[in-house]
Amino acid sequence: MSDAILTLRGLKKSFGDIEIIRGVDLDLLGGERHALIGPNGAGKSTIFHLISGNIAPTAGEIMFAGKQIGGAQPQAINHLGISRSFQITNIFPRLTTFENLRLAVMRAHGLQYNFWRLVDNNRRVREQTERLLEMVRLQARADSIAGEMSYSEQRSLEIAMTLASDPRVILLDEPMAGMSRDETEYTSNLIREVTKGRALMIVEHDMDVVFSLSERVSVLVYGQVIATGTPEEIRRNASVKEAYLGEEVAA
């Protein structure tokens, strides 16, 4: 493990009078798998939106590899090496699975404004797309219309699209929501595999996944991080138990 690659300092976000994120300090270390947990409405997805440029922070800073990225455009943040998935499936519904993934792969090959070459002839893009399809076990669905696949298949596609640009930091927002036990286990192993050498921040409600996958866990409650530590430390932390895990056990 190395120094922090992504640092949040005093991060705040208000919508009108309502302060959703109330001063978050968080470090994502290079190469670590870091889970962000917390009750519903704690602001986990909002943190992802802030980091990925979907919304701009009200105050505070987001430093990525020594650069301030708070409020930058999503595509600029993606170019720096942060890639994210979405809690609500966010794909190209009327295109095929292969096409969905190819659009994601093409970006890193600098083909945005290319109109003089046929994309089918680009072997590197095709092979990488096929490799990603295989990785998330969707090769049989390559020609299916993405919007017509099952929910869990769309979740897998979403993960593959997030990985396509070879990012240094991956943000996964509830990647396993709606998956069966078997799919969850497979995806959990897949995430461990593909995030080697990269930093991962994951929001997930499945506590088994969180505790087995992540090296560190941060607990977010009402827009503030109340604890950060190894899964063991978080399990033992009294305030976490009270604020979050306790509720779950009691429920």
Binding site: N54, Q75, R102
Partner: protein
Amino acid sequence: MKPVHILLLGIVLALLALPSFLTPGLVNAAIQMLIAALFASAYYLLCGQAGMLSFGHAAYFGMGAFATIHAMNAIGGTGLLPTPLMPLAGAIGGGAFGFFAGYFSTKRTGTYFAMITLAIAELVHALAPHLKALFGGEAGVSATRMPAWGFTFGSTNEVYYLTLAWVALCLTLLYLYTRTPLGRLTLGLRENTHRLRFLGYNTHGLAICVFVVSAMFSGVAGGLLVVSNEAANYVLFDAHLSASVVLNTYIGGVRVFLGPILGASLMTFFGYAVSDLTQSWLLYQGALFVLVMMYMPNGLAGLFGQIGQWRSRFGLAALIPFVLLALGAGLLVGGGGAFAIEMLQRFLSQDYQALASANAAGTWPPIRLFKHDWSPAAPGTWLVPATLLTAGAGLAVLARQWLRRLVQREESNRAAAEASVPGDAA
């Protein structure tokens, strides 16, 4: 060779042979059809593939046209380019104005985008007559085609072949465009712009690119019109042209590349053929558009696709009665509708009303239609369209029933097949 390729080859050969069979008037109509097809295809790139509904595409068509006419008049009338290359000036004119307009309009999406394009087109239309030096005022600008490359370009046929070559080239380029990375991203723009941004794409830049390409090919279409007409007038910026490219594209079908081409050439041909026969052509165009949107939202191309799908499901023999019934229904309803519209149009026309009120006897004089005299007061007159429409509706019901029976038969066949499988195993 795939059937599609054979079909395309056939069409190209037919188009090449066409002028030897047609009168100059019809060759001229064919030129208009080709130009409309290219314009619709360029428009389809923006509206069908990128999902950006522009209501002001006449602006880019018109800019291409004026750029071409000024290029033709340049250097004392000798022209900036040899005549066959003139549409290039249209591409530059349309594309340059498209970049300017596209930069602003693509900052918004959906309804706001549509409104900005509409506003820009109206702005140009309102401004053009006042900029005499550029657009020639009310009278417009005219030019002469210069001989080049051994052709005089004096005859309609030579203009036809020039137009055909340009349209074929541009349609090929537009098709190839859909297979390029930018072409694939165009679809992504339609499907989910938000996601594209998080994949690292500059969606505003992409949208501008698509807009410019579409405007550029619209400009070529405008340039071809000018090369053919040797004149351009601010009427080219009229909202009517913007509207008809939308209608043509949707009537042809916005899901398939060939759809808008089909729609535009058919509607232009009908416009040419029918405008001499009726004063209500725009009414027919509108009615046709409403019907297509209501009953086959994927347009004519979607209809062919649907029939092809049914053929493979039910077999050709079972489908023929349905097609005949549906065709009969279409003809009867079309005939009845046309009769009613033409009759009403004549009955309600100012001339006829003046004639009737001048008639001292207080009776309605007969109306001449389809080589017969019809009395508007006689019930028999109105019974004709009523009968035709009722019979058409009856056939439509029969056609629908036939289709339902085919679906039922397919289901019972499938059930029988499923029932027989366990029997075989046992």
